[in-house]
Symmetry: C2
Subunit: 93 residues, 2 copies
Amino acid sequence: MLKATFRALSDSTRREILSILREGPKTAGEIAAHFPTTFATISHHLAVLRDCGLISDEKQGKYILYELNTSVLEEIAVWLSSFKKDSKKDETL
Amino acid sequence: MLKATFRALSDSTRREILSILREGPKTAGEIAAHFPTTFATISHHLAVLRDCGLISDEKQGKYILYELNTSVLEEIAVWLSSFKKDSKKDETL
DNA sequence: ACATCAATTCGATAATTGTCTAAATAATAA
DNA sequence: TTATTATTTAGACAATTATCGAATTGATGT
């Protein structure tokens, strides 16, 4: 869903989370340690990112590992490409 | 600003407005005619798109012509490209 | 069983947003 | 001038959101 994805990406904390996850999977705690906000707030952001498929989570014992999922970013790229000068493709809302 | 741009793109009406403007510049009225909402609402959406640079407006007598500005979409594309598999840093290719 | 740690969920609050109607601005026409 | 047309702006409302502290779940270790 483009709506939810763009909405998710509009928050700088969430974009930074995605940036952190480019290095590889990380636990919620490792991610939260990068920010001055509370764990509860980061947990909320992770849920937003997960709900639109930008990240996936996997339980590993005591921890939850979050991993970047680039396929949703690919969808955004496809949408963007329809605005390229010579692209008279149909509208993908 | 990525924040404002993603925020603007998270609304389907605004994405549709951009899609309409791919055909070329249109007046606010022509744009509004595509939607069931009021002119005031579309005017608000146009202001949001203008404020983040996704469209530009030009007064033509009685009318205001709105035009798509793809350079901001390019910025999004650049941001996305930093998430490509082999792009560990921000390379603008 | 109990305590501890990792993470989420709950409840509340302040800020933002999309939409409306109604009023205002600005340009043209009669 | 007055009227009409195009568009924005103002004011209000309900819905959504980001954030917090506190309570809760779930896994591990003593």
